[in-house]
């Protein structure tokens, strides 16, 4: 059952009015610049802010309405803070038990040992938080949140305080969670790449208002979401591995709409993967190049011109219902005489994959 939220907040220096739906499962990314109200929105949902108005209904249970305002303890959420907020006076094990021992649900929901294995924290149980690295702290914080068996997991920029190396260390764990969790996750971030990797739905915030709310694929190619700009543009395609060529150490991925991408590295056949294609890695030709180092050449039609800036143009291309974006120079756009509905070929130089 999905959950509906309308959150209104009035402060001296900030106001918020956002309506959105939390899906039954999967990750809802809350994206926006700092100061757009992402974290405040999450805090409102968790009952950590005062004087919130609106309506929050989760799985048929009303959390907030005119005469109802459940406390944080009564809302079955778990919250992972940017800084982890592990209790410094307790061992990792005690931290992990804190939420678990206070939740009413039966212990069948989450398998403790399996979760510790997933997050790779079993060896940290006897340590204190100050003995952990930043990445380890966040993994423990995520484990602590999940052991509470929440109806909803709220993550507030859990990677923002980590350096690039630590981020890479924790990303895979979040990806596994994405696939194993049966409850929705709300993921606040201002990092475009993180959004591309984890999210299934997007809520784009701007100055306390919702700019776009909906499916990730739509968000990435619609002008309203402001995610498809010359500076920042990519699409996400879902597919599965259909072929392996051991001699060349390369795999073929079929998207849901029937396009094929060849991707270096061997992946098991049938494996579901998410392909992330940045607009800057996609070029356009009028005729199909036959002798090219680029393997992924796909036929498509120009669907729209989304953004123009600094001599470059962002073009949306429809390839058998898969929407791709290409960032090319305005000069090439003119030379190729591109126009909406014109048949073209795109060459995809690089694809980032994320195994599901």
């Amino acid at each position: 059952m999905s959950s509906d939220c309308l959150i209104k907040l009035q402060r001296d220096d900030f106001s918020m009015d956002v309506k959105f739906t939390i899906p039954e499962k999967g990750v809802l990314g809350i994206f926006g610049d700092s100061g757009s109200g992402k974290t405040t929105l999450l805090r409102c949902l968790a009952g950590l802010e005062q004087d919130v108005q609106g309506h929050i209904e989760v799985n048929g249970e009303v959390w907030l309405d005119k005469n109802i305002n459940l406390s944080t303890q009564q809302r079955n959420i778990a919250y992972v803070f940017q800084e982890g907020r592990l209790f410094p006076h307790m061992t990792v094990e005690k931290n992990l038990q804190y939420g678990a021992s206070r939740c009413s649900a039966k212990s069948s929901g989450v398998d403790r040992d399996h979760l510790f294995d997933l997050l790779n924290i079993t060896h940290l149980l006897k340590r204190y938080p100050h003995q952990l690295s930043g990445g380890e702290k966040q993994r423990v914080a995520i484990g602590r949140a999940l052991l509470k068996k929440p109806q909803m997991l709220l993550l507030d920029e859990p990677l923002a305080s980590l350096d690039k190396k630590r981020k890479q260390e924790i990303l895979p764990y979040l990806e596994i969670l994405h696939d194993e969790l049966r409850v929705p996750m709300l993921y606040v971030s201002h990092d475009f790449d993180e959004m591309l990797r984890f999210c299934d739905y997007m809520l784009v915030m701007d100055q306390g208002l919702s700019r776009f709310s909906g499916d990730l694929h739509d968000a990435l190619v619609s002008p309203e979401s402001s995610l498809s700009t010359v500076e920042n543009a990519a699409v996400v395609l879902e597919g599965s591995v259909s072929k392996q060529e051991k001699d060349f150490d390369i795999s073929t991925v079929h998207t849901v709409n029937g396009n094929q991408f060849q991707i270096p590295g061997l992946m098991p056949i049938g494996k579901k993967v998410r392909l992330i294609v940045f607009a800057s890695d996609v070029s356009v030709t009028n005729v199909k190049a036959t002798e090219s180092s680029i393997l992924n050449i796909i036929e498509g039609r120009v669907a729209a011109v989304l953004d123009k800036k600094d001599g470059r143009v962002l073009v949306r291309i429809n390839c058998k219902q898969d929407m791709l974006l290409s960032l090319i120079s305005i000069k090439s756009f003119q030379l190729l005489q591109l126009a909406v509905d014109k048949k073209i070929y795109i060459q995809v130089k690089a694809v980032v994959t994320r195994g599901n």
């Binding site: 804190y98 206070r102 938080p129």
Partner: protein, 223 residues
């Protein structure tokens, strides 16, 4: 037992009881001060801090008026217990609680402030109710404040003189605490007795401070 030690026992009893009462009533006040957004907070803070700067005789004078059987509080107490508060041990305890109040409340208040809302919020999101979170998160994280408050409250009550003289007088076994006894001995030129008591108080005060700093260092919560 050597009769000279009677004031010593009385003093320890007074300081111990005062500290215990202060921990019980000072903790909620400290918590309120650390968390309130009430506009009257500075006023309350100033009132709490008053005994630090007020001359003990001034404090003692007003306490004498409030505790006397002619006052509302004093007569109410008399009806309730059949005893007067002035020149009694009970009155001395009440006076000491007020006199040492800031020395217990301020360290605990500061400790609660440094714990901050963040950790409490984390506890709430994990399902802990406010009282539960208070005892499992706020108090353990503020334990250094509690130790400092308890030691300071105890030590400060030990050294009380002016207030005791004003409201308690000098009744052996009832209100004659060490500092008064030392004063008496010196007045009567009994320097050797004064030496013993003063020496004990000095060692005791030093031990208390040492204990506080050692514990503070040991119990530092690493972040």
């Amino acid at each position: 037992m050597f009769p000279g030690f009677e004031p010593l026992l009385l003093t320890v009893k007074l300081a111990g009881l005062t500290t215990l009462i202060l921990l019980v009533i000072g903790t909620p006040v400290a918590w309120w001060l650390a968390n309130t957004r009430c506009k009257a907070k500075p006023v309350i803070e100033a009132v709490v801090a008053l005994p630090i700067v007020l001359p003990p005789t001034v404090l003692g004078f007003y306490l004498l008026l409030i505790l006397s059987p002619q006052s509302v509080f004093g007569s109410w107490w008399f009806e309730l217990t059949g005893q007067t508060l002035t020149f009694s041990f009970s009155g001395l305890v009440i006076a000491s609680v007020i006199y040492s109040f800031p020395f217990v409340v301020q360290p605990i208040h500061n400790a609660f402030e440094s714990v901050g809302r963040d950790m409490m919020e984390a506890a709430y999101t994990l399902g802990a109710k406010p009282v539960d979170a208070f005892f499992t998160v706020a108090v353990p994280l503020a334990k250094r404040g509690f130790i400092t408050g308890a030691v300071l409250g105890f030590a400060h009550t030990l050294g009380e003189f002016g207030v005791v003289l004003m409201v308690g007088g000098n009744i052996p076994g009832e209100t004659r605490v060490v500092s008064i006894a030392i004063y008496d001995h010196v007045e009567s030129l009994e320097y050797s007795q004064a030496h013993v008591l003063a020496g004990i108080l000095l060692v005791f005060a030093f031990a208390a401070m040492l204990l506080m700093y050692v514990l503070n260092h040991r119990l530092k919560v690493k972040l």
